[in-house]
Structures are given as structure tokens and as C-alpha cells.
């Protein structure tokens, strides 16, 4: 440790001895680090949005179903507990939000076209926290209560059905006896979604209207709960599990939507691979810089050894030099990444390619997400791999014989 000040001083001075080479290498590190963090933030943002959109449409953070519902999502497999009883169970538990809904497959028909959709019978007040629909941006109006007799459909579906606000459509599904259950609704609103596919897939009616149409009394098919963080749903899951009985199945969102769950896990692995790949490209430049830096001062290394500096100190000096170069590059790269991501926090409009992104479940606005963990990972990986990459030139430098090194002609 007592050698650290002198080694650090030498390393820093040698780093700037050939400042042009150092600046070129530094630029490569800065761009590499920026690319690592910026691209990670974009990808994180995309996956986050996919997950949040997915959660807002489907599962919340935790869902409760009849155990048979996921295999056969019909009212036959509904939750046989009435609305009032549910409120008594869940209201005191203090969830951030919860809602019960009727969710079944249905067919919607206009006077021109028919389409298969997912019918959502909802309590609009309770669903506000879950919904991917911004109630205020609905053309016409959104549902006003559980007994609203109107229907709200997506703009894209309205185009497909060639219908509009004020016109009537017919919804058709099955009741618990597998008899046709149908009813006419007047279109009261057209919603807009970040993901155009959602505009064709979902239709909203009042929960009581849905219960009446499907002849299921005051029961529902799905109860959803929202916790504080989709990455940590365990507290919500445990609270819900403690409240419901064993006849119902409680699932975390990533168990309901395994695609999104897997996506989140894959993303963590992807970040690491991406960071390592970028660094491998950088490492060639780094090693070359260090080899050149050692090569051009062989004589001085010999002199230091002759004066009594130990080989381990020479090794340390080269490694410190490498770490300093990387640390400066990381600091500037981190700052640059942060500075370029901050102005994009309001989202990047990628609607030009949104149709393609939609296939992956992504929305047309991309919100880059800079997580400190990702930044930390990039920094730690660069420093660790940088240390390993600098071992070889540092080892070579420490192996010089003083006499031979001093005799080298520069």
C-alpha cells in the first residue's frame, strides 16, 4: 500500500505522456461505455413498457381465478363469490388497488362485420389504476359506472367493424349453461391504446351489464391486485394468498403471462452479454495501448528495477495505468449516457416502426429506462475485464531483466 502513491503518480503521468494515443483510446472507451448504457436503457425501456402494458391489460401484479379458468376462460369457471363478499375480504387488506371483472371471450358484430374479442365487464372506477386506456382520451366517453349500458371499443376495431360512436353493436358469448348469451349495446366511446393490437382485442362494458347478459348473478371471473413494484410482487402475493381460500388460484403476473416473465429474465442476461460483447471489442484497443505504452518505456522500466523497484510494483503500475484509463473513460461515458438519456425521458416516438414493434408486444412510444444497477453492472464488468486484459502486458513489463531493459535502444 505504501507504493500506491508513487505508482499512481507514475501511472497517471505515463498515461498522458502520449496524450494523443490516450485520447483516442479514451474516446473508444467513452463511446463503448455510452453505447453499453444507452442501448441497455433503450432495451430496458422497451421491455419495461411491454411488461407494464402487458400488466395493465392482463394481470395486474397478482390475479385470482377459478383454477380451471386459465384452461377454459368461460363463465362456467367463474369465481363463485359475490361482489359484496369480495369487498369485505379485500377492502381492509390495504392493496394499492384491486378490482374484480368479468372477462370472457365474445364476438362483436356490427351491421357490416364480426370480430372475436375479449369482453371486459368492469367497474370503471376500480379499473382506472389497471387500465391501459386513458379515460380522458376516449373519443365520446368512457363507461361511467358498473351499470352503464354502453360499450367502449378500440378505434381500430371501430374501423374494422365500420362503426362509430352512437351506433349499435351486438355482443355474443355463452352463459353458464353453454347457451348463447347476447345483447345489443350502443357504442359510447372509442379508446386509443399505445399498442394498436389492443384496440382490436378488447371491448369494455359495465360489470353489472356483463353479469346480467351472461346470467352469472353478481359473480366475476377474475380479480386483480396491484402492488407497488412489478419486479417485487411477493408482498402482494402473500397478502392475497392469506385472504383467499384454497378453492381459488393465486398467481403472480409472470406466472399468468410467462412470455413477459421470461422476457424480464432474458433482459437481465441480455444486458450482461451486451456489455461483455462491447468490452471485448474495446479490449483489443486497450491491450494494444498498454503494450505500446510498455514497449516505449522498456528502458525506464529497467531503470526502475535497477533502482530497487520490485517486479510486483511494475506490474501494479501498468495495471493502475489501465484502471485509470478505464475509470476516466467510464466516468465520461456514464455522464454522457446519462446526459443523452435524460432528454428522452418523455419518450421516443417510434410509430414509424410501431407495426413491427407491435409483433413483439411493444408500444409505439419508447421510454428509455436508466437503471443504476445496469450502469453499475457496465462499470463493474469493464473494470473487471479491463483488469484481466491488462494483466498480460503488465506481467510482461514486470518480467524484464534490468540490464537488458536498460540496454534497449529506443
Amino acid at each position: 500500500m505504501r507504493m500506491l502513491p508513487v505508482l499512481s503518480r507514475l501511472a497517471w503521468r505515463y498515461l498522458w505522456r502520449n496524450h494523443r494515443r490516450t485520447i483516442i483510446m479514451l474516446s473508444a472507451i467513452v463511446i463503448g461505455v455510452w453505447a453499453m448504457i444507452f442501448m441497455t436503457a433503450l432495451t430496458r425501456g422497451m421491455v419495461d413498457q411491454m411488461i407494464k402494458d402487458g400488466i395493465s391489460v392482463m394481470p395486474g401484479h397478482v390475479q385470482v381465478h377459478n383454477p380451471r379458468f386459465l384452461d377454459d376462460p368461460s363463465v362456467t369457471n367463474r369465481i363463485a363469490i359475490g361482489d359484496e363478499q369480495l369487498a369485505r375480504k379485500f377492502d381492509p387488506a390495504g392493496f394499492r388497488a384491486w378490482a374484480s371483472r368479468v372477462k370472457v371471450p365474445a364476438v362483436i358484430t356490427s351491421e357490416r362485420e364480426s370480430r372475436g374479442v375479449t369482453l371486459l365487464g368492469i367497474d370503471p372506477a376500480a379499473e382506472r389504476e389497471f387500465s391501459f386506456v386513458s379515460y380522458d382520451e376516449v373519443e365520446g366517453r368512457f363507461l361511467e359506472g358498473v351499470d352503464d349500458n354502453g360499450i367502449v371499443i378500440g378505434r381500430k376495431l371501430a374501423g374494422t367493424l365500420d362503426t362509430e360512436v352512437g351506433k349499435r353493436v351486438v355482443l355474443m358469448s355463452q352463459d353458464p349453461d353453454n347457451e348463447i348469451a347476447d345483447r345489443g349495446f350502443r357504442v359510447v366511446g372509442l379508446f386509443k391504446a399505445n399498442m394498436p393490437a389492443f384496440e382490436e382485442a378488447y371491448v369494455f362494458i359495465g360489470k353489472k351489464a356483463a353479469q346480467k347478459m351472461l346470467r352469472i348473478g353478481d359473480t366475476t371471473t377474475e380479480i386483480v391486485f396491484l402492488g407497488d413494484d412489478y419486479r417485487n410482487v411477493e408482498p402482494t402475493y402473500e397478502t392475497v394468498s392469506a385472504v383467499v381460500d384454497s378453492t381459488l388460484e393465486v398467481r403472480r403476473w409472470h406466472e399468468v403471462d410467462t412470455y413477459l416473465g421470461t422476457m424480464m429474465k432474458v433482459m437481465d442476461g441480455f444486458v450482461l452479454i451486451w456489455v461483455v460483447v462491447i468490452f471485448l471489442a474495446l479490449s483489443f484497443g486497450l491491450v494494444n495501448t498498454l503494450v505500446m505504452a510498455v514497449f516505449e518505456r522498456v528502458r525506464e522500466i529497467g531503470l526502475m528495477l535497477a533502482l530497487g523497484m520490485k517486479p510486483a510494483s511494475i506490474l501494479g503500475q501498468i495495471i493502475i495505468e489501465s484502471m485509470m484509463l478505464l475509470a476516466v473513460g467510464l466516468a465520461i461515458g456514464d455522464l454522457l449516457a446519462w446526459a443523452t438519456i435524460q432528454p428522452l425521458q418523455d419518450g421516443i416516438d417510434i410509430s414509424v416502426v410501431a407495426e413491427g414493434m407491435e409483433m413483439m408486444g411493444a408500444s409505439s412510444v419508447l421510454y428509455p429506462k436508466l437503471y443504476w444497477n445496469d450502469m453499475l453492472l457496465a462499470n463493474v464488468v469493464v473494470l473487471i475485464l479491463g483488469f484481466l486484459a491488462s494483466l498480460s502486458p503488465a506481467w510482461r513489463a514486470s518480467r524484464y531483466e534490468p540490464v537488458e531493459a536498460i540496454a534497449k535502444v529506443g
Binding site: G308, K310, V403, I406
Partner: protein, 230 residues
């Protein structure tokens, strides 16, 4: 008291197909406080002998003693410690670390020795003044003349008051006036601090300052002359 003792040293280098005998059964003793010049034509073995004494080069056979320590069997780490604590080096050229200032170069050895900053600063300023470089402490080697650089190297070699100073052609790149000044400095250190000097040179003027001149030829000692210093 003996400062350096070499017993039957041999060292052979391979050059192409030829074996060159750089040291051929060399034995020599140098007393503490000695001022010795090793003189030889180019390739005569003086630098090889100097390197063997300084533990920079290991002989093929024979023994090298510095004081009571036999050094030819020491490890690299032990040799580094010995050089750090007991030997000062002055090389012909490229003596200084170019990224450090004159004062930092002088402090370098002390810093490696672990001497605290205040003592280092005090000693380095004093020795730079002693070698006539007051006011040039913050200059880097590239900003100094050859003579000034060599003085810094001497200051670095003697600042820790080593028992032994080894100098390889220390005046080779200096003009005669600067050479004389350097040799007078060596003489003064030798007389006042009882520092042992072993200087490899073929400069007659340098030899004139020595108490003893050992002449070498083809790796062998051919003449050992004791003389009164100039």
C-alpha cells in the same frame, strides 16, 4: 573493511555463433571508502563487472559479496531490496524517469524505500542544492541539459547515503567542464561521507580522480594501480 569482493567471476555471452567471455576468472576486493575506476576498451568487461557487483547481472560462476552479504545467489526480490538500501546507480544516459520532475526523480528511491514525504522533500532539496541544481527542482528531464540531468541522477544515487555508488560511464555525455564538476562532487562525497565509488570509464580525466584504477582486457584484470587522487 571490504565493501565489495568478487571471487573468480566468469560470465559468457552468446553472440551469434561465438561465445564472448565478458568476465574471465575475475577476482577483486574493494575496500570501504574506495574510489575505484574500472577501465577497459569497449567490450573489455567493465560494465559486466559493474552489473555483477550491483546485482543487475548474475555471473555464470564465482561469488559476489557486498559487505558481508553474498549476492550472486539472491532472489530478484532480495537483490531489489539490496539495491534499494545499499547501492546508488549512475548510468551513462537515460538516467531519469522522464515523467517526473528533478525533485521527484531524486525522491523516487526514497519513496520506494517508504520514507515519509516531509523528510523526502527536505533531503531532496538539500541534495539538489548540493549538486548545484537549486531552482531547477520542478523541471522535467527534457527541460534540462545533459549535465544537469546527470547531476540529478547523481543526486538520486547519493541522496539515501548508500555505502556503495556504481557509475557506468557517468561523464560519457558531458563536456569536460561538467565532467570535472561531477568528478569533484564524487570526490567530495567519497572523502566526506566515506562512500565507496566504483566507476566504469575509459575517460583518462575521470581516472585521474580515482585512488585506484583497475584495467581490464577481454574480461580479465590486467592491471591494478593504486594512485594518489588528483
Amino acid at each position: 573493511m571490504t565493501a565489495v569482493r568478487c571471487v573468480d567471476l566468469c560470465k559468457t555471452y552468446r553472440q551469434g555463433d561465438q561465445d564472448i567471455k565478458a568476465l574471465d576468472h575475475v577476482s577483486v576486493e574493494i575496500e570501504q571508502g574506495g574510489f575505484v575506476c574500472l577501465s577497459a576498451p569497449s567490450g573489455g568487461g567493465k560494465t559486466t563487472l559493474l552489473n555483477a557487483i550491483g546485482g543487475l547481472d548474475i555471473p555464470d560462476s564465482g561469488e559476489v559479496w557486498i559487505g558481508e552479504q553474498r549476492i550472486d545467489q539472491m532472489s530478484k526480490g532480495e537483490l531489489a531490496d539490496l539495491r534499494l538500501s545499499s547501492i546508488g546507480f549512475v548510468f551513462q544516459a537515460y538516467n531519469l524517469i522522464p515523467v517526473l520532475t528533478a525533485q521527484e526523480n531524486v525522491e523516487f528511491v526514497m519513496q520506494v524505500q517508504g520514507i515519509v514525504a516531509t523528510v523526502r522533500r527536505e533531503k531532496s532539496l538539500a541534495i539538489l542544492q548540493e549538486v548545484g541544481l537549486q531552482g531547477l527542482e520542478n523541471r522535467r528531464p527534457a527541460e534540462m541539459s545533459g549535465g544537469q540531468q546527470q547531476r540529478v541522477a547523481v543526486a538520486r544515487a547519493i541522496v539515501s547515503r548508500p555505502a556503495l555508488v556504481l557509475a557506468d560511464e557517468p561523464t560519457a555525455n558531458l563536456d569536460s567542464k561538467t565532467s570535472d564538476e561531477l568528478m569533484e562532487l564524487f570526490t567530495e562525497l567519497n572523502e566526506h561521507h566515506n562512500t565507496t565509488f566504483v566507476i566504469a570509464t575509459h575517460d583518462q580525466r575521470v581516472m585521474g580522480y580515482a585512488k585506484r584504477v583497475i584495467r581490464m582486457l577481454d574480461g580479465r584484470i590486467v592491471e591494478d594501480i593504486r594512485q594518489h587522487a588528483a
